[in-house]
């Protein structure tokens, strides 16, 4: 366990080096935040949903950017790159589980990313948040659980996509599809509330909505306590299924591996 903690800390530390990048990242986050708010205001002014107040909307945008940062993962492109330049051989020389190593690294990056991106937004909107429906303790606990599962789920799916590079050498096009699917069925661009019925039904059968959308619903108390177990259980089942798949594919992948270059 200690080794994964070290990987996590070093990953965090690597991110800290680039203060300018962090600063520009913050500026980008603020811009994205403003865009989302304008979009929402436009949407609300059409009167589609008059049950949503401005502070509620603000809270949604905040928690949404936080969750998006936390579930950002470039593990697939990292694997793809190590395959292209052959650096994968160095990773395999370490007495550590490859998946665990990748996860610890991703978490280090994401925690840093979500803190630097969300804290300024939070400060910016602090004054406008009064009156928003903040979750109670039970919802916060369930949200935490559900968010952790979402992060793990996103990682599993992306990792699985990355492993295809062992066969294909390149996997950017699969990554591309993954991002598209996630945007549509994960409700990361437009919340699933606004979707036609059949897409909503379909989204229940895919893993994407359990990554950020369901945790957010719990946080915003749109999911009642007694129903929270449904998305949590669904996420858990996906997670177990994907881990089993990952393990099998990893075994096949290491057999298949041909390292590029000297």
């Amino acid at each position: 366990m200690k080794k994964y903690l070290t990987v996590f800390i070093k990953s965090l530390k690597s991110e800290l080096i680039y203060r300018w990048a962090a600063l520009w990242g913050m500026v980008g986050a603020v811009l994205g935040f403003l865009i989302q708010i304008f979009l929402w205001q436009a949407l609300l002014s059409t009167g589609v949903r008059n049950d949503t107040s401005f502070p509620d909307m603000l809270l949604y945008v905040l928690i949404n950017s936080f969750m998006l940062q936390l579930t950002r993962t470039d593990v697939a492109s990292i694997i793809e790159n190590t395959m292209i330049d052959g650096a994968i051989s160095m990773e395999l020389l370490r007495p550590i589980s490859y998946k665990g190593y990748m996860l610890a690294q991703t978490l280090g990056k994401n925690i840093y990313g979500s803190l630097t991106a969300t804290v300024p937004l939070l400060l910016l909107s602090l004054f406008f948040l009064s009156g928003a429906a903040f979750p109670n303790v039970a919802h916060i606990l369930l949200f935490t659980l559900s968010a952790l599962l979402g992060i793990a789920l996103m990682f599993e799916v992306t990792y699985l996509v990355g492993l295809t590079a062992f066969w294909l050498q390149r996997c950017w096009f699969i990554r591309f599809y993954l991002n598209g699917l996630r945007s549509i069925f994960g409700g990361t661009m437009v919340p699933l509330w606004f979707y036609p019925e059949f897409l909503i039904t379909l989204s229940y059968w895919l893993p994407f909505r359990y990554m950020t959308f369901e945790p957010i619903n719990i946080f915003l108390m749109k999911t009642p306590l007694e129903q929270a177990w449904i998305p949590i259980l669904a996420a858990l089942m996906w997670l177990v299924g994907l881990s089993i798949a990952d393990n099998l594919i990893w075994r096949a992948a290491t057999k298949k591996l041909a390292v590029n270059g000297g």
Partner: protein, 328 residues
Amino acid sequence: MSFIEVTGLCKDYRIAKQEKGITGAVKSLFHREYTVKEAVRNVSFSLEKGEVVGYIGPNGAGKSTTIKMLSGVLLPTSGVAKTGDIIPYENRKENAKRIGVVFGQRSQLYWDLPISDTFDLYESLYSVPRERFRQNCNFFTELLDMGDFLHQPVRQLSLGQKMKANIAIALLHDPEVLYLDEPTIGLDVTSKKVLRDALKNINTQRNTTIILTTHDMDDIEAVCQRLIMIDQGQKLFDGTLGDFRSKYNDGFTVKLEFDTVPPPWQENGEYELLEGDERHWLIKSKTEMTAKTAMIDLIGIYDPMNLYVQEERIEDIVRRAYAVDEVV
């Protein structure tokens, strides 16, 4: 049973044929043809604990591929490699704890952080007692003279400095076996010497088994007792350095030094001019003759100011050995 046993090891790579043009690219989406590259062919050898072996061969001979199988990264197509009682590619993580590996072309260091951070990572990766680890850090920092750049971000270091750090990292956990794949590229003469001494030191003090791949025969002469030569995936020689000399060596070289412009070189069946400039000639006898005959002969013909007889350098023997095998 020996410490490292390699029996009938083979590795084939499948290489997809690249067809030219867009039609070729589209066609390859549906149907791919492969050629098979036999990178390692039926290689067998065994090593005792504490042996230092030079693993040599021309570019593309299959050296790195062998090392990758021994270190558990690649699965052989057939054959078996065993280190200790472990099959490396079936027990990657267990094997990784016992070995240290340096691929001279690659780095294991955190790019953005100082070397000391990578040290920390390796401390927690291998369950080495803290005290021992600290001791090793200090030992290798001193030995490889790394004190000056230990706390500088890795991206600011020179190739040679990174190489030293990678070598140190491979050694911090007291590995039983050390695989070094071209560890001296990018090192200056002094650093090479430092590294060779360090390797000898580690081998004698800790009885570490070492397999060393290099194109610098001085590395081999300095640290290896034994030599394995492969070419095109096949083992061609396995024995002591002395055996290697007597197998491939066919004589000695004579160096002539002139104080004036030398007389013109006379081509004949007896001698070959290897290198020559205004004042120095390096000559090799083509036939079997004693050094005494050659000396008398050459002094008679060319009247040099000085004359030295040298045993042929391993470098030249290897060059010839590669060339001979190319012809076969």
